[in-house]
C-alpha cells in the first residue's frame, strides 16, 4: 500500500499519515487506500494514535493507581455472611464471580441466590439487617436449600 511515506507506526495515526501524503500530492487521489473514504465518513471515536504502555518500576511492577471503582451491592453483606457461615459450599465459592452475576432464568442450585432473594422480600424499614437475616434463616430452616 505504501512504498512511499513513513513506516514508523508510532508517528500519528494511519489516517493522518495517508491524509498528509495526499495533501502534499505524494500519493495520487486515485491511489488512496480503500478504507480512506469510509474512515472519513464514519471516523472512530478516538483517533488511533500510538500510546506506549506504562513503564514498570525497578521491581517490574505496575506503578499505576487503582482508581477503577469497585462494584458493590447493598445485599453483599447478606451474601457474604450466609456464604461464610451457613452455606455448605466451600468458601472458595466466594471468589466465583459468575455465581453472583448469574441469570435468574437459568436453572441453578445456588443457595445463596435463593437466600438473598428471600431476604429482599422480608426487608422493611423497622427491623435491623441482623433481625431480617435471622428471620430468613428460620424461613429456610424447614427447607433444604442445597437442592
Amino acid at each position: 500500500m505504501s512504498t512511499v511515506g513513513i513506516r514508523l507506526h508510532r508517528s500519528g495515526s494511519i489516517y493522518s499519515r495517508i491524509r498528509d501524503l495526499l495533501k502534499t500530492d505524494v500519493i495520487e487521489r486515485d491511489n488512496r487506500p480503500l478504507w480512506y473514504d469510509v474512515y472519513e465518513a464514519f471516523p472512530p471515536i478516538r483517533e488511533p494514535v500510538y500510546v506506549p504502555d506504562m513503564k514498570l518500576d525497578e521491581f517490574g511492577l505496575s506503578i499505576a493507581k487503582d482508581d477503577v471503582r469497585p462494584i458493590l451491592y447493598e445485599e453483599d453483606w447478606v451474601r457474604a455472611t450466609y456464604s461464610l457461615h451457613y452455606s455448605k459450599v466451600s468458601h472458595n465459592n466466594l471468589k466465583d464471580v459468575t455465581s453472583m452475576f448469574i441469570d435468574k432464568k437459568y436453572p441453578c442450585v445456588c443457595s445463596t441466590l435463593k437466600f438473598v432473594e428471600q431476604y429482599q422480600e422480608f426487608k422493611n424499614k423497622d427491623s435491623s439487617k441482623e433481625e431480617i437475616f435471622a428471620k430468613t434463616l428460620d424461613y429456610f430452616g424447614k427447607i433444604d436449600l442445597q437442592k
Binding site: H9, S13, R17, W35, P48, D53, P70
Partner: protein
Amino acid sequence: MKRISTLCSCSAYASAFIQSTNSFSLRTLTSHQMFYFKSSMKPLFPSSKTQQSFLRTVQSEPKIQVATLQKNTERENPLLHSDFFGVKSLVTIEDLYKARVHFGHTKGCRNELMKPYLFGCRLGTDIFDLDVTLQHLHRALNFLAHMAFRKAIILFIMKSHQHGHAVEKLAQECGEFAHTRAWGHGTFTNNKINPRELKGGIKLPDLCVFLSLQDTVQDRHLAIDECAKVGIATIGICDSNVNPSIITYPVPANDDSLQSIELFCSLFKKAVLLGKEKRLDIENSSQSVKTADSTE
C-alpha cells in the same frame, strides 16, 4: 498470489475472486470505478464541507423536493446514510451480556489504556461498560460492512488453538481469508515487489479483523504493528489486558470465553454478508437497467 493462498486458508470463492481480478488493478476497480459514478463526472465522494453546503441548499427548498433529493443521495452514496446496512439491529446489550462479553481479566493484569472502557471492578475482576462496548461494536460492524460492500479483501486474524478453527470456518463461510497460525515476522512489511502492481507479489488485505490482540499469553500480536506500518485499517476485540491504542476500530470486550467469540464470529459474518448482498443487489439492478436501455 501463491504466497497468500498458502499463507491464508482461503475459500474457493475468495481465490476465484482474486484470480478474476488479477489482470487489472483491483484497487482502482473497487474504490473508484463504482458503477453509479461512471456516467456522471461528479467527484466520487464529496468532502464533508461540500456535503454540508449541499444539504443546506436542499433545506432551503420546498419540502417535497427535499424528500426526493434525500432519497436520491441515499441511493447513490451509502456513505451519506447513517446505517446503510442495518448493522445496528444485529446486536443488543442483552445479547452481549448473555455471551459474557462484559468479563475482563483480573485487575492485576489490567492495561492502563483500557480504563475508560471499564464499568468497574467486581471482586478483583474487571467488568466492561456494555454501553461503551455497543457503541464501538456498531462502528466496527458498520465499517466492516462498508468495506465488504467495496469488495475489500478482509483478513481475520486470531492466534488461538482453541478458537482457530471457528475463525477459519467464519472466513470460509463469508468468502474471505483467515490467519490463525504462528505469524511470520515481516509478512506484510517484507515485500520486495510493489503490491499495487500485482506482479507475483502478495496482495495485501485492505482490512484486518483481530478476534484477539494476543499472540501468546504475554505478547501482543505482531500483525498489529505491521498493519499500522503498511497502512491497513484494523478492527480488534480488545480485552482488558492489551494496548488498544493503535487499533483503528477497537471493541472493548471479552476475547477468551467460547460464547463471546461465537457471538463475534456470527456478527462479523452477518456484517460481511450484508455488505456483499447490497453490492450484488445494486449490480443486478444496474445490469437490468443497461439491458433495458440496449433493447430500446
